[in-house]
């Protein structure tokens, strides 16, 4: 019995190995970004994220070259206390430290029997010295990237450091109002929510009405209109943007939330109606017949019968439309641009023109993924169902 089990287990190994291999390839890029977003900027630029569990930079070199005399924390020699930030600030670069190591102290070489290390090793030792002296502490993980991304900090250090020393850049106030800095992800998060919620609610509402009419009302051209609608589902956004932005310019709707809500609604409707109609149309006919015999009119049947029964479909549709609008870049780029930046716009701007460092970019990317990830992992069932029902979306 036991042997059989082992054999069965062994026969599954290639299959399991393949699954594990694919899953790892799929997770590693995102995981790397997540890890990076928590690392201090100097570490991001000097070592890969996979080294995060390694010993801090320079600690090995320090142990090999200096620890014997200076001690682990550098304070063993009272007249050369490496834990003193003032002393270290005189040797804070390898070109400054290297000559000191080559010098003789009391007639003997500074390094005694140990050969003077190479410039690269000295540079690592400097990093370590700054760390133990407290001159420039480099923690393993930090939240600074997220803070900087949220407030749109673009200085050379960090928001917390600058504000603590009272030397913030011009557009930073060092109070809660920084969260609404137009360059920051905090503001963009609010804008994204402001775009997404109505742009999710409106198409669902209108699609519920239309879907009901297509399933339970008799009128001329019912199938023809619906077939056209199926075709409209795959019309690309690019085909309609130019005329709409011209009309919006005349109506003053460019760079307004209303304009974007309406555009997303118009564009989301063919799919939304298709989904609602397929769902409502599959409800049992008897249900509506008996309701009608009981004297219900269409309005009652719609509000009291169709809508409550269609809640699963509405949930699927809602998640789908929410993620679609939240993740959209093109519409936001064309109709909102920089006046009301949403998260995708803000990030694409950081990537292309502003050339923000990886510390801001990784944190910003994760902030934008936070809500979709939560929605996805908590409501995956509905999301998948909506996708299977439609399988085609513009």
């Amino acid at each position: 019995m036991k042997k059989e089990k082992i054999n069965k287990f062994l026969s599954h190994i290639p299959k399991n190995a393949l699954i594990a291999f694919i899953v790892i390839i799929w997770i590693v890029p995102t995981f790397g970004l997540l890890v990076t977003s928590f690392r201090p900027v100097q570490s991001i630029n000097s070592s890969g994220w996979w080294t995060i569990l390694n010993a801090p930079v320079g600690s090995k070199e320090y142990a090999a070259n200096c620890e014997a005399c200076h001690g682990k924390r550098g304070d063993l020699l009272p007249n050369a206390n490496l834990g003193d930030p003032q002393l270290i600030s005189k040797f804070d670069r390898s070109v400054l430290l290297l000559p000191a190591l080559k010098k003789e102290i009391n007639g003997a070489p500074h390094m005694q029997d140990i050969p003077v290390p190479s410039a690269q090793v000295v540079a690592d030792i400097v990093v370590h010295l700054k760390n133990i002296s407290g001159l420039e502490v480099r923690p393993k993980v930090t939240l600074n990237n997220y803070i900087d991304a949220l407030v749109g900090y673009r200085g050379t250090r960090t928001y917390t450091q600058d504000c603590a020393e009272g030397t913030p850049p011009l557009d930073i106030n060092c109070n809660i109002s920084d969260l609404l800095n137009p360059r920051g992800m905090g503001r963009a998060f609010v804008n994204s929510l402001f775009v997404t919620i109505p742009a999710t609610f409106l198409p669902i509402l209108l699609a519920a009405f239309a879907g009901y009419a297509f399933s339970w009302m008799n009128f001329k051209g019912r199938m023809t209109i619906f077939a056209i609608l199926v075709g409209l589902q795959v019309v690309p956004l690019q085909m309609t943007m130019v005329p709409i932005s011209r009309i919006y310019a005349q109506l003053g709707l460019n760079a307004t939330f209303l304009g974007v809500w309406l555009f997303h609604t118009g564009f989301g409707l063919p799919y939304a109606i298709y989904l609602m109609r397929n769902f409502l149309g599959s409800l049992p006919k008897d249900l509506f017949e008996s309701a009608y015999l009981d004297g219900a009119n269409h309005w009652t049947a719609f509000t009291k019968l169709a809508i409550p029964l269609a809640l699963p479909a509405i949930a699927s549709l809602g998640i789908f439309q929410f993620l679609w609008v939240w993740n959209d870049l093109l519409v936001a780029l064309v109709f909102l641009g920089g006046t009301k930046p949403v998260m995708t716009y803000q990030i694409s701007n950081m990537v292309s023109s502003l050339g923000a460092g990886w510390q801001i970019l990784t944190a910003a990317a994760f902030l934008s993924m936070l809500l979709p990830m939560i929605v996805f992992f908590s409501l995956q069932r509905f999301f998948v169902r909506g996708m299977l029902a439609g399988a085609v979306k513009g």
Binding site: V23, A210, M223, P236, T265, G266, D328, L329
Partner: protein, 320 residues
């Protein structure tokens, strides 16, 4: 087409359906139908949308008259001096790149999706491993672009903080600037696309696999068919309709793909695709005529799939 019957008793006045339909239909007319017509009109105009496109012709150069924007859209990227120059310039133009995207991205997403759906079917961690593969669908193309830009990061100094170049240098190779090396870079972008969309294909194919009746599979196994034989001769033909749906959906998705190229390379270094080119012409070069002409070309490429979609829908309705 036979309309699906509604309960006879629910017939209503002529006007009631109008109330339910009007808001949705008006919005769609305004935001989809009218702009499509207007876009076609604008594609025959100059960059301001006022004068005919024929006025933009340059003396002494070939001109297609009122179709001049299409002349530009179709040939500007090509080198027509010799046939071999034409061939090689086509494959790095936005059209050639879009074709590469269609071939490789659709091919690999469907293939990996199908294999993965099959091998995880029924295992203990099926739901979890599927969720992992599907996760990129939830995040934006912009986010995915940042994730992969970091993987592809090219450090000019000794340290490689990008995973891929770190592996290459770790194995003794020279680091590669993946996103600025022409030809290679388009394939690197396609890999990102595959990473995003495989979960979508996998999910749909997986539900199709589960709908294949067990009795048929059991019967053929009893008859001595190997697992491979069962898969290729029974399962694949049975889920073929779904595979075709997935392929057409993916082709449409690829044709519309804009965000990824925009974020990762901006269409530079010979990575341009049709959808990004439309954006460049319209919103960077501010040439309305050329931008809309590219959009119309994009729609013409999609029309066969629109027709397939409607046909499939009508066939489904017949079955109901």
């Amino acid at each position: 087409m036979a309309p699906k019957p509604v309960p006879q008793i629910m017939r209503q006045g002529k006007i009631t359906p109008f109330y339910y339909l009007a808001p949705a239909i008006l919005l769609m007319l305004f935001f989809i139908v009218y702009p499509m017509i207007n876009t076609i009109q604008l594609s025959f105009k100059d960059k301001t949308g006022l004068k005919s496109a024929a006025t933009t012709c340059v003396e002494g150069k070939p001109c297609w008259g009122v179709f001049e924007n299409y002349h530009y859209a179709l040939t500007a990227e090509l080198n027509t001096s010799t046939f071999s120059a034409l061939w090689s310039s086509f494959w790095v133009s936005s059209y050639g790149n879009t074709l590469k995207w269609i071939i490789f991205m659709v091919g690999f997403t469907v293939l990996i999706g199908l294999i993965f759906a099959k091998i995880v079917d029924g295992i203990k961690y099926e739901a979890l491993s599927k969720a992992m593969l599907f996760m990129p669908m939830a995040i934006s193309f912009v986010g995915a672009g940042v994730i992969w830009k970091f993987v592809y990061n090219y450090g000019s100094q000794q340290v490689q903080v990008g995973l891929l170049n770190a592996i290459i240098t770790g194995l003794g190779g020279k680091p590669i600037s993946f996103l600025t090396t022409p030809i290679l870079n388009t394939y690197m972008l396609i890999i990102v696309g595959i990473w995003i969309w495989t979960g979508f294909c996998m999910t749909i194919l997986s539900s199709a696999l589960k709908s294949v009746p067990d009795e048929i599979l059991e019967a053929s196994r009893v008859d001595g068919a190997t697992e491979w034989r069962v898969f290729t001769s029974i399962i694949i033909p049975m889920i073929m309709p779904t595979i075709l749906v997935v392929i057409t959906t993916m082709v449409i998705n690829v044709l519309k793909l804009f965000d990824l190229v925009y974020v990762m390379t901006g269409g530079n270094f010979q990575t341009d695709v049709i959808a990004n080119r439309m954006y460049t012409e319209m919103y960077i070069n501010f040439n309305m005529g050329r931008g809309t002409a590219v959009a119309v070309i994009l729609v013409i490429a999609i029309i066969p799939f629109i027709i397939m979609n409607v046909r499939r829908f009508l066939a489904q309705e017949e079955m109901r």
